[in-house]
């Protein structure tokens, strides 16, 4: 029985550290995933959210809003969920799928500045029709 107890102790240690690592990991690295409307709501409720809390915003790129400055690798655009619109500024390279055509969906990671502009640290384009070309008239 003694061996069994010792084993249970070791097992509890492993299970405990897995649980600890998971909760700690979520607490330290978890990031809010918001829509622009939810972001507006959050900042209204809690003004300290501005500049201090990192988040991700999932929204569509406003068509025609993209301004690229290739030489400085800087890109400015607007994201919207149809209710709220936020300007975004990003310094870095965006993926191939990022365009302002066809309501491209993006995930912008960053913080909100006092001026109401999202300073992005990362931009992901998630093309809804990732591996399928748009097809005009599908069979009804």
């Amino acid at each position: 029985m003694k061996a069994g107890h010792k084993f249970l102790l070791g097992a509890a240690l492993i299970v405990g550290s897995v649980a600890f690592l998971i909760t700690e990991g979520v607490r330290e690295t978890g990031v809010y995933f918001l829509t622009p409307s939810e972001l507006a709501q959050k900042t209204a409720q809690d003004p300290s959210f501005v500049e201090n809390v990192g988040f991700k915003v999932g929204a569509k790129v406003v068509p025609g809003s993209v301004r690229r400055d290739a030489a400085n690798r800087r890109i400015d655009f607007q994201v919207s969920d149809g209710v709220k619109t936020y300007p975004v500024t990003y310094k870095g390279l965006v993926p191939d799928t990022f365009t302002d055509a066809d309501d491209i969906e993006v995930v912008v990671e960053g913080r909100l500045g006092r001026d109401g502009v999202i300073r992005a640290t990362d931009v992901l384009a998630k093309c809804g029709s990732r591996y399928e070309a748009k097809f005009g008239a599908k069979k009804a």
């Binding site: 061996a3 069994g4 010792k6 084993f7 070791g10 097992a11 492993i14 299970v15 550290s17 897995v18 690592l21 998971i22 700690e24 990991g25 979520v26 330290e28 690295t29 978890g30 990031v31 809010y32 995933f33 918001l34 991700k56 999932g58 690229r68 290739a70 030489a71 400085n72 690798r73 870095g92 390279l93 993926p95 191939d96 799928t97 365009t99 995930v107 998630k126 093309c127 809804g128 029709s129 990732r130 591996y131 399928e132 070309a133 748009k134 097809f135 008239a137 599908k138 069979k139 009804a140």
Partner: protein, 691 residues
């Protein structure tokens, strides 16, 4: 031809349903002809689905753009081998691919399983057929690859450029083969539970199958990393993306299972745990398919969002209920035959190893589902990314790495201090020497240091095993070194194949540790301008932008940027990265432009060049340069892993029979060469035909 395809699908549903219903009803018990008909119906099922597949391929090859699937995934100017791979490039076709391969496995399981397990086979047929019926059912109800369009477009839309890659021709099938073949071990486990024949028979019957699916999963995952590395262009090979995680999950639990069955074979312990693992692995493979196809969690690898997900969710619930109810009702039959003697024993090491594998799997699952879970529980959608997965899994992975060295060498039942000293003195010294060497070389990062030191320790254990085994053979049989080494591996395939797999894992760990030191730089360069980067191995690279060229190729317009490389002042050739705009046969653009990364692979580091864009039509270009250490070793480690797996699986390396007396690990080598080896070979002759 679509008519034939459609008809075959319906025929498959009928045959499969019949097989499943008769099988589960148990009415074939005591009626050998009916039992034989049940098992033979798996071949009929295969025939139906082969007919359907040929019909789809016929449509693809003949450019029948009236078929929606053909029009959506191919075009006239698509190279032939991509037309073949378009079969599994889309949701609908890949469902058919899945169904046909599963029915092939189902049929092979019937013909290749040795006769002495034949009373399990009708149940196995029922389970595999039921799963096939599910996949075909999803197709005919909501994702029929033979759907026709109301009109015939002059050309198809072509294949997504990121899928136009050799890796993408083989990576999905490999991963599917892994996912799909998990169904066979699950079917045997369910059959054992249904028939209440719960001795180790079912474990012997599926040993090769579990290895096969493990091997395919490993190859599929590695090829997936390679594809992500060369196609996605973000500079790495693993991003903890939900779909990547989904492929890792069944691999983790399957790996745990491969280890824990050894405990059941030798000691008759862990029966419930093993059944739980195999049911869990099957569920995770279905879960992975669900994630990939439903769009509930956004991912770079997923198919377009569709209602197919609901079917998978329903199936997941049904299969889970079925599996765990069976397990629960048979619980009392699964009493362990022995108990743990000591924590310092191989059993305990394997148990800890299993807990770690399952713990890692749980944390990956948790992190992947966290956005959904947090929204359900707290109303806030919270996501976790690579930092979370690294924080959690790096320490757990290092523990596991340590156990890789301890598990195979520590004695069964109870390790004596002499056993520990004899087995671990030199390996521990090797680990410490590695650590000292790295510290002296100036490395200070704790995790990579630990990873490499542990790798040194594990490499020490494996080298010692090979050295002792070979020396024993040389002494006993007067064989020269190469023959002794060859026969040592050949006559103990399971053991030394396993060590080779461990070597592969070690190489992975070392390569992963290397990525902690990657360098990255972005630059906007006019022709003639250059940037300089210093690599972690101390080399100085200078990248000079030579200029931009534009030309047309088969199905694309290419903008290429060329970089001249010098390494430590000496010329090191050119690297080209491209932006490709794919076009159809009327020169109309299809898809967004895609980037073709320029990669120069080396033993120390990869040079990874991405042309991010060109400034307003001039020759001024935006680049990203990465120096990625040790990436080549990931692919090499994969090859070692796979060859180790093949050695283990090779006919003749079958299960060791349980009656063998538990030996002290250190002496097992010598015994294997003579008496033990005999027993091994006898058992192998019969089990070898399992695959």
């Amino acid at each position: 031809m679509t008519l034939l395809g459609e008809f075959s699908l319906w025929a498959a549903v009928i045959v499969g349903l019949w097989c499943a219903v008769i099988s589960f009803s148990g009415r074939w018990n005591g009626r050998p002809e009916l039992a034989a008909t049940v098992t033979r119906s798996t071949h009929a099922l295969l025939f139906c689905l082969l007919a359907a597949s040929l019909a789809l391929w016929q449509g693809l090859i003949s450019h029948d753009f009236n078929i929606e699937y053909v029009a959506a995934y191919t075009s006239r100017n698509l190279p032939p081998y991509f037309i073949v791979s378009a079969f599994w490039a889309g949701q609908k076709g890949s469902l058919l691919f899945w169904a046909v391969v599963l029915s092939l496995f189902g049929s092979l399981a019937q013909t290749l399983t040795p006769r002495r397990y034949s009373d399990l086979l009708p149940y196995v047929a029922g389970v595999t057929s039921a799963v096939v019926v599910f996949f075909v059912g999803v197709m005919v109800l909501s994702a029929n690859p033979f759907d026709r369009l109301a009109f015939t477009p002059p050309d198809g839309r072509g294949l997504n450029p990121q899928l136009q890659n050799v890796g993408m021709v083989i990576h999905p099938p490999m991963l599917y083969l892994g996912y799909i073949s998990i169904t066979v071990p699950f079917a045997f486990a369910a059959a054992a539970l249904l028939s209440r024949k719960l001795d180790t028979g079912w474990i012997h019957a599926i040993r090769k199958w579990t290895l096969v699916s493990w091997l395919f999963l490993s190859i599929g995952i590695t090829l997936g990393m390679w594809w992500a590395y060369v196609e996605l262009g973000w500079g790495g090979y693993w991003a903890w993306d939900p779909v990547e995680n989904a492929s890792l999950l069944p691999w983790l639990t399957m790996t745990a299972f491969l280890h824990s069955v050894m405990i059941q074979e030798k000691r008759g312990m862990l029966k419930r745990w093993n059944l739980g693992l195999i049911v869990g692995t099957f569920l995770l493979s279905i879960f992975g398919t669900f994630i990939t196809r439903s769009g509930v969690i956004s991912s770079v690898h997923s198919f377009t969002q569709s209602n197919v997900g609901y079917f998978f969710l329903a199936f997941l619930v049904i299969a889970g209920t079925f599996g765990f109810t069976l397990l629960y009702t048979r619980w009392p039959l699964l009493e362990a035959e022995a108990s743990l003697d000591s924590v310092a024993s191989r059993e305990a090491a394997f148990l800890f190893n299993n807990l770690l594998f399952v713990g890692i799997a749980f944390s990956v699952l948790w992190g992947t589902l966290f956005p959904i879970l947090s929204e359900l529980v707290r109303g806030n959608k919270i996501t976790v990314g690579p930092p979370f997965f690294n924080r959690v899994n790096v320490p757990l992975g290092l523990l596991l790495l340590g156990l890789t060295g301890i598990g195979p060498l520590i004695a069964w039942r109870k390790a004596s201090p002499e056993n520990l000293k004899r087995q671990f003195f030199w390996p521990v010294l090797a680990g410490l020497a590695t650590l000292a060497g790295l510290l002296a070389a100036g490395m200070r990062d704790p995790y990579p240091l630990m990873a490499l030191a542990l790798a040194g320790f594990v490499a020490g254990t494996i080298a010692q095993e090979f050295q002792r085994g070979t020396r024993a053979r040389m002494r006993m049989h007067q064989e020269p070194l190469p023959i002794a080494l060859g026969r040592l591996i050949g006559r103990n395939r399971r053991r030394y194949g396993g060590y080779l797999v461990h070597v592969g894992m070690l190489i992975y760990f070392v390569a992963f540790a290397g990525m902690a030191f990657k360098r990255e730089q972005e630059a906007t360069l006019k022709p003639g301008q250059s940037v300089e980067m210093r690599s972690p191995f101390g080399h100085t690279y200078r990248f000079t932008h030579l200029g931009i060229s534009q030309y047309e190729a088969l199905n694309r317009i290419v903008t290429a940027g060329t970089i001249e490389v010098t390494k430590d002042g000496k010329s090191d050739g050119l690297i080209t990265s491209e932006k490709r705009q794919h076009v159809d046969s009327f020169k109309r653009p299809t898809f967004e432009p895609s980037t073709e990364v320029g990669i120069r692979s080396g033993l120390q580091e990869d040079l990874y060049v991405v042309l991010a864009g060109v400034v307003n039509g001039t020759e001024e270009a935006v680049y990203r340069f990465n120096l990625n250490p040790l990436v080549w070793w990931v692919w090499f480690g994969g090859m070692v892993l796979v060859s180790g797996g093949l050695v283990t699986m090779w006919p003749g390396g079958g299960p060791t029979i349980r009656t063998r007396r538990p030996a002290q690990a250190g002496y097992e080598v010598a015994l294997d060469g003579r008496t033990g080896g005999q027993a091994d070979r006898r058992a192998d002759g019969t089990a070898a035909s399992a695959v």
